[in-house]
Amino acid sequence: MDLTGSETLLLADDEAAITDPLLTTLTRHGYKVLVARDGDEALQQARHSHPQVVILDIEMPKRDGFDVCRSLRREGIDTPIIMLTKITNTLSKLGSFEEGADDYIIKPFDEIELLARIRVVLRNKTGRINMRTATVLAADDIILDRRSRTVSVKGNAINLGEKAIKLLDTLMVNYGFYLSHGELLRKVWGIDMSMHTMEDDSFRESYLENRVRRQVVTLRDQLNDPRDKPKFIETRKGYGYRFIPKVDIR
């Protein structure tokens, strides 16, 4: 499916030096771009112009990006949101993106990287707004209770660390879709590989990918899910990891 061509994007940032060049690039790639200069305008445009993706800066006049994001989610608007910052405060909590953002990108970023993120959120657009706020996620035999931070398989509680719970949470919310190492690092660990220059330690990327791999192996062991015939977490080379069963909320 060709995702570029007709989608409308809302770009909210008060800096013209940032929105002007982005507008040119995004338009050149076939997107229709609306620009908002402050939080109130962003909220209005997101409500009434029905963009397919909202790109929100955090610090804007009148209303900050988090506030806009929260308001939209409260109103049940499920448009994918990419924040132009790291979601520092929320990543430490369970459920990762509690403000309701779908992804983030840290300034200064490459336009190419932003285009890639837009493509991913458009592809994964799921209408799963309730999954982010649900207390309990359930799939087959697995029940993840976000309030008590516990996971049980077939009614037996299993002892998972914070990271493993966060990883399982992220995989469950995105069930059916492959999440790459980079996406999991951002969403579970809060590490954005694209912002690093990589020259320092050329091995850093593979090192961090290993960290994801290690955590997935631990999680799989705890869930008693064989790698060759997975029931829950499937690995596909070049794509990433996918939670297989359908997830319901309670």
């Binding site: 030096a17 940032i18 060049p21 430490s92 840290i106 300034k107 200064p108 336009e111």
Partner: protein, 328 residues
Amino acid sequence: MNAVVLKRLPTGRISGRIIMAFVSALLVVALDIVDKDAHRLTISLSGNIVLVTFIIVATLTGLSVIIWSVYKRKVTLIEQTRQKTQDDFVRNLRHQMQNHLQAISFAANHMPAVGDPNELKQVQYRVKKMGELVHELERLSNIRSGRLNTEIIDLGVLAKGIVEDFQSVRPQDSERIALYVDSVPHSPSICGDEGLIEQMIENLVSNALKYSSPPSRVEVSIREEESFVAVRVADRGIGIPQAEQDRVFEPLYRGSNVDKASKGTGLGLALAQRVALAHGGSCSIRSEIGRYTVIIARLPSARAEVAPGRSLRSWWYRIRGSRLSGPS
């Protein structure tokens, strides 16, 4: 008295009790007067003196406790305001810098291609490097004890994973890294923020590898020492001059004997120390130039949290009727 203990004094309860004592004393005096008027009971002069003295002492104690709690609240408020001002400053600085860098990056990208394309690459590279630095500095200033997402961590297991990761992605160093975990009689566990602790150990190992050359070994050891778990990372590398050892934990500081072309933000050890401090621990260094460097991060053991008599806090809790869970 230890500041930590003072902070935990339940001043509200004490002042409540003193006020109760004060009210009871007043009641006794009132009853005394009533009784005297009714000629049913007489209290001796010495009895009255004791009573009055008691009331004065109770009032003074009550007042001092109230003044103390007001003072404590004020101090906390000042500290919070100071912290907020600093946070706002760092956030604004980060925001401004990131916006400028973003604008430079876009402007460079959109410039018509003239001259050497490598120059454009240089601009992009420097912009990214600055962005990374700004981001890391903000992260550093945000590491604080109140913001940790803590859980019980088995440091032996964590360090094993980290070392294995280093070995798998740097096969050339695989034989160089050795891990020793002293898990007798129990595994060395701490109560901490796993992401930060992981980063702390990674930074120490990465530094040790960077500033020593094959085939010299890098030794990582984890062992419990009294109420702390010590993470020790030792290398036989270039070492750090004696005069500079106090400064190695300063952000952006780089040793005078380090090749200036070597990569890194200069924040690795600063971050390690901040993480240790935020967990109530410490970071120290022993080094001899050209011979070795040992960095030791000490973190409070998870057991120390529940073990009796190891801190003034547990001592206080025991007096108050043991609010601690676990063995007493």
